[in-house]
């Protein structure tokens, strides 16, 4: 390679308490290339780019920019060197306007902020790259795709030439991803160098000039997309073959309705929408998928079903009984299982051990001497049997839940929720943020729940997941159900358009 890399990371090592996040990592970025950084969750991709951006300090290793060794002690240093990073989950302040968010990251912001000048600068830059935005809009009113544009504008106006994107496509629907890749390509034409992190193989293969794969804090290798295949990349990412999720069964007949929502409405809270006239039926032995851009009422739908959100109008019928105003406890007892997005926030107590968390939901089942003691050996048995059922090794029973990885936490939740009598599983983004293997364990569990004749409601923003698991998919937009599809009859792009309100709605 004759060209000097614009950014070169040499033998970067970074240790967090208990984890070796980066182990002598080498990475280089050539001028005018799009370089994909591929790997499963926890492979150390984010840590690496955050070191390049000065957000973390490496324990050892060197950073070279344009062939010169540099010290990057803070984001300020990185920005001075022309390095910009779009964080995963964004670094926008919702309460501030587009203009204010961009201004915060401007390199040469004058002492006095003149809103008019600022708006003009932003307007001009946004026109040039086809990122039309109104600078005076507060960010909380923007869609995720638009927020992505603001992030990009921030970098461009801050005069960054090395643009790093940490999982930029995670929250985008398919046509927004296409748009983003188009912007990437035009930035490359203009001489920008780009790094983008993903764990989706297809994205790396379609958009990148080179792909570097990381696994467990190390670089496995760098390949060109024309030399690679999904198969070979998977091998690099995991070092072993993955268990495929069984395809959705076809031609099955769903049974009796388990859950029915009739014209259910809830009150909007803050900027989140309320549900409006939601009609939905989940039958025994079917998986109903709920698609939508996040923040369009999916969370509220889950909460309303679980009894966490008051239903202001309409009825909720569970197994033929009016459950509209049942408290969560009664729903749990009658057989509603819940697999949440973030187990640490919604399902487990971080400073409880694995065993204690397992006993938590159903203490009566394990209580002895009238509640004075707990049958720990029974809990232990559940731990072993439950994990065996999932085909996994049981977790260490004395480990505190807070120290477990996201995938293990989700397994713990599954074992607890699905090993008691239940009729309905509500999955609220159950695979979000999990790596492929952990996500597959969750998917497999949902599929076997269906086989056993349970009803499954799967709320997800991963369209591929919804398409491969669901018997039916409903799409939510602004608190309403705006479309219903059968996965075998619809395609991704069509659903994506309905999700963003851009498509024609089919009844």
């Amino acid at each position: 390679m004759a060209e000097t890399p614009v950014l070169r990371l040499v033998d970067i090592t970074k240790r967090f308490p208990g984890v070796l996040a980066n182990d002598r990592v080498n990475f280089d970025l050539l001028p005018g290339e799009i370089h994909a950084l591929l790997g499963e969750n926890g492979a150390g991709k984010s840590t690496l780019v955050k070191i390049a951006y000065g957000f973390y300090q490496a324990d050892s290793g060197e950073i070279h920019v344009h062939g010169k060794k540099v010290e990057i002690r803070s984001p300020r240093d990185a920005r001075r060197l022309g390095i910009g990073l779009v964080f995963q989950g964004f670094t926008l302040i919702p309460a501030m306007t587009v203009a204010e968010n961009v201004a915060l990251f401007l390199a040469e912001l004058p002492w006095l902020v003149r809103p008019k000048d600022l708006r003009k600068t932003i307007w001009e830059a946004s026109q040039r790259y086809g990122l039309e935005l109104d600078p005076a809009t507060p960010v909380w009113q923007l869609s995720v795709g638009e927020q992505q544009k603001v992030e990009l504008l921030k970098l461009l106006l801050a005069k960054a030439r090395i643009l790093i994107f940490d999982e930029p496509t995670k929250v985008l629907v398919p046509h927004e991803v296409e748009n983003l890749f188009r912007v990437f390509a035009s930035l490359r034409e203009d001489g920008y160098s780009l790094v983008f992190i993903t764990h989706k193989l297809r994205e790396a293969l379609t958009c990148a000039d080179r792909i570097t794969v990381m696994r467990q804090g190390r670089v496995v290798g760098t390949v060109r997309p024309e030399e690679a295949s999904e198969e070979s990349l998977l091998q690099m990412m995991f070092g072993e073959r993955l268990v495929e999720v069984a395809k959705a069964g076809t031609g099955r007949v769903p049974g009796e309705p388990i859950l029915e929502l009739r014209n259910v409405c809830t009150k909007p809270i803050g900027t989140a929408p309320g549900l409006e006239d939601v009609n939905l039926t989940v039958r025994a032995g079917e998986i109903v998928g709920v698609a939508g851009v996040s923040g369009n009422g999916q969370r509220e739908l889950g909460d309303a079903i679980l009894g966490l959100l008051r239903i202001t109008r309409g009825r909720k019928i569970f197994l033929g009984e009016d459950a509209t105003h049942w408290p969560p406890r009664r729903l749990i007892q009658r057989g509603v299982a819940f697999v949440p997005e973030d187990p640490l926030a919604m399902a487990v107590v971080p400073w409880f051990t694995v065993l204690e968390n397992l006993a938590l939901l159903d203490p009566r089942r394990f209580s002895r001497l009238g509640g004075l003691a707990l049958d720990w050996s029974g809990v232990r048995q559940l731990l072993r049997a439950g994990f065996a059922k999932l085909g996994l090794n049981p977790l260490p029973e004395r480990a505190r839940a807070g120290t477990l990885s996201g995938g293990n936490l989700q397994r713990l939740t599954l074992v607890r929720e699905l090993n008691r009598p239940y009729h309905l599983v509500v999955g609220l983004y159950p695979t979000r943020g999990l790596d492929v293997r952990s996500a597959n364990a969750v998917r497999q569990a949902l599929l076997s729940a269906r086989e056993e004749g349970k009803g499954v409601l799967l709320i997800s923003e991963d369209l591929n997941e919804l398409f491969s698991l669901s018997d039916r998919i409903v799409v939510m937009l602004k608190g309403r159900i705006v479309g219903e599809f059968r996965p075998e009859e619809a395609d991704l792009t069509e659903v994506g358009r309905v999700m963003t309100g851009a498509g024609v709605v089919h009844a």
Binding site: Y53, Y56, P75, T91, A95, M96, A103, L104, V113, G270
Partner: protein, 297 residues
């Protein structure tokens, strides 16, 4: 009519000592810190200002001493919550009790004494006999638009608000959240103590223990009422000032109601106003208000 004019005039005077801490607290909360210690800072300012004015025969030196003491005392609070990562409510309460005790200690010899008070000036006009105020009143009302400008039209204000919304983002933008919070705390401490000094040197001319009577907490309520906007803080301060004066006027007329009940009136009124106006306030509050920022590692 004259009753009405004197009510207005009094409301403006009594609005000043509450406006100072309110403005300071608004800035501090915009930077993400709730400071429950305002009451202590005000008392500290009131007693130290009075003592220095008594000793030097110069009320301005009193105000200056109060300002300096408030600044230093609140830097302790900032150090606790920024560097020691203490819980803000606990640190604030500690500061409050420190201020209460310290002010009682400083003020003990001066109970019942008179100190030189701030001179009064009037803007030219027909009502100038009635509307005569010491310079601090004018300063308080000028500070409000100034602070609005600082928060919403300057680079510093943008960064300060960013720290209050999300210090990690501010840090990513190259801002030091710690520095911003120290500056905000310094401003707030100074203003709270000056507010207290204005009470003893601009209004009563005497010192008595606990003389701020909960104004530090009313100021926190007014910050919420004003939705963290210095301009709206003027309205809040005037409402409270008006209520205080109304209560004084009613007492002066010898109305057959318990004076204790009347004393309560301004606070009840403030609570009522908060109830009516305070709805939906959640979305305006700085998003990381009250949270400890742990840095990046």
């Amino acid at each position: 009519m004259s009753w009405f004019l004197s009510w207005i005039s009094g409301a403006i005077l009594y609005a000043a000592p509450i406006l100072f801490p309110t403005l300071g607290e608004a800035v501090e909360q915009r930077a993400g810190m709730v400071n429950l210690g305002l009451e202590g800072l005000m008392l500290l300012g009131a007693s130290l200002g009075f003592a220095v004015s008594f000793g030097t025969k110069n009320p301005w030196l009193g105000v200056l001493a109060a300002a300096g003491a408030g600044l230093l005392a609140n830097l302790i609070y900032a150090w606790l919550v920024v560097h020691r990562r203490a819980h803000q409510l606990a640190a604030g309460l500690a500061l409050m009790f420190f201020g209460i005790g310290m002010s009682a200690l400083i003020g003990k010899p001066y109970v019942g004494q008179m100190a030189p008070v701030l001179p009064k000036y009037a803007p030219t006009g027909p009502q100038s006999l009635l509307f005569r105020y010491d310079p601090l009143v004018y300063v308080a009302f000028l500070l409000a638009p100034l602070f609005w400008f600082l928060l919403f039209r300057t680079r510093f204000g943008l960064r300060l608000r960013a720290v209050g919304e999300n210090p990690a983002i501010a840090y990513a933008a190259g801002v030091s959240p710690s520095l911003i919070r120290y500056i905000a705390a310094a401003l707030a401490g100074t203003l709270a103590a000056v507010g207290g000094a204005h009470l003893s040197l601009g209004i009563t001319g005497t010192w008595s223990e606990g003389m701020t009577a909960g104004r530090g907490f009313i100021a926190i309520a007014l910050v919420i009422f004003s939705r963290w906007n210095p301009l709206r803080a003027i309205v809040g301060a005037l409402i409270f000032g008006g209520a205080v004066v109304l209560q004084l006027q009613l007492q002066a007329r010898g109305i057959g109601v318990s004076p204790f009940f009347l004393d309560m009136l301004p606070y009840v009124l403030t609570v009522l106003v908060l109830l009516v106006w305070g709805r939906g306030v959640r979305h305006v509050a700085p998003a990381s208000l009250g949270r400890v920022y742990f840095g990046t590692e």
